[in-house]
Subunit: 197 residues, 2 copies
DNA sequence: TGTACATCAGTGAACGCGCGTTCACTGATGTAC
DNA sequence: TGTACATCAGTGAACGCGCGTTCACTGATGTAC
């Protein structure tokens, strides 16, 4: 064979990785396959050796996006001292770094409404990825039981995603960071005790 | 003239009204002009007698969407007794009615990320509409000064928008309403005192 | 060892399709004289 | 009053373009004998 045995799998991974970023940055309809492939130094024809359709890649890419963000969150928590882990996560999620790096940030904040519009089959697959996202972040959530932690996840993460998405919708830099700061203080106060930032 | 003097303006209004709903339901790229016009019993050719481009309509439609939602919120507040107005607004925003009527609901929850991806000029115009949305809801927000009310707007509304958007991204009806209920209780508690729902 | 063939990731032109936009036209009514 | 012309909201075919998808091909390497 022309390429090592692992080559095809590696190319597939590269496509998914690039798509995970590009779709979050530009949306499903904003990023075409030809452009995606050429950003990897490949041509469009090869795409269908890896995926049966753009939809299939879209699902894979969003799954990857959720996984990456979960990994980032875990790393943030790991490098924070006990008792300050949740605070660290809130500060990271509502940081200007996250605000300005849509392509590597939370999928919910980047593509939330788009997911709700997908045909049921695709939505179902993405829902399963979201489920794994929830599960992997659960240990980092406040609460005295998995149920309580799950509820807190679904209050905290969507709330912060909404703040991020709204800040991104606003062009004026001042206003952007004002919104982010307000949300940060609010969620820190509400979830991580009265500890001032 | 073939039509009464007001006819053209009325048609324009009808197009904007339909677009305000359709864009929120399907997104900018999900709703084409030909389909929009035919939903109004019109044909595509006439569109450019009213708007110079789809982008122009998109801006008008989102502006209309913000106005409609602001009007709904004002009506909800008006029909609630003093002291329970904010609670009424939170319950209305996080109701299953709002959840299931994306086309007539908050623009932020329906199109937030899309707005952030627009070219600066369009984004600027929509930001001005958002500004009027904020201003008109300001009197309904908690706080002891306009500044405080503004900050509370930017915590409460994006937070609820994120909850709505996340619930809509999830297909399972049980899970959807669970998320909505959790958010409702949280924001009621955080913003409208400890009054149980 | 040498030769013919099989494999297969990647190529790039071509396809059909739907989109936003343009444009010559329609036809009902108002206006000029 | 009657006739010729102007107006203009709306029509629908046509345009160019970019997209997702298909397909015959390439060429480096592995395999059979």
């Amino acid at each position: 064979m022309r390429y090592p045995d692992t080559h095809k799998a590696e190319t597939r991974e590269r496509i998914i990785g690039m798509a995970a970023t590009s779709f979050r940055e530009k949306g499903n309809f904003g990023q075409g396959i030809a452009g995606l492939m050429s950003n990897l130094g490949l041509t469009i024809g090869g795409f269908y050796k890896h995926f049966s359709s753009k939809d299939e890649l879209y699902v894979e890419a969003l799954t990857r996006g959720f996984e990456e963000t979960a990994r980032q969150a875990a790393a943030v928590a790991a490098s924070a001292p006990d008792g300050l882990k949740l605070q660290a996560i809130i500060k990271w999620y509502l940081s200007s770094g996250h605000l300005n790096d849509t392509g590597n940030g939370c999928v919910l904040a980047a593509l939330g409404p788009e997911i709700g519009r997908l045909q049921p089959e695709l939505q179902g697959k993405i829902n399963r990825s979201m489920q794994r996202y929830v599960d992997s972040l659960l240990p980092l959530m406040p609460g005295n039981s998995p149920d309580e932690q799950r509820m807190n996840f679904f209050i905290l993460i969507p709330g912060m995603a909404g703040a991020l998405m709204t800040a991104r919708a606003i062009a004026a830099p001042r206003m952007r960071s004002k919104i982010l700061r307000a949300a940060r203080e609010f969620y820190l106060h509400a979830f991580a005790g009265k500890t001032a930032r």
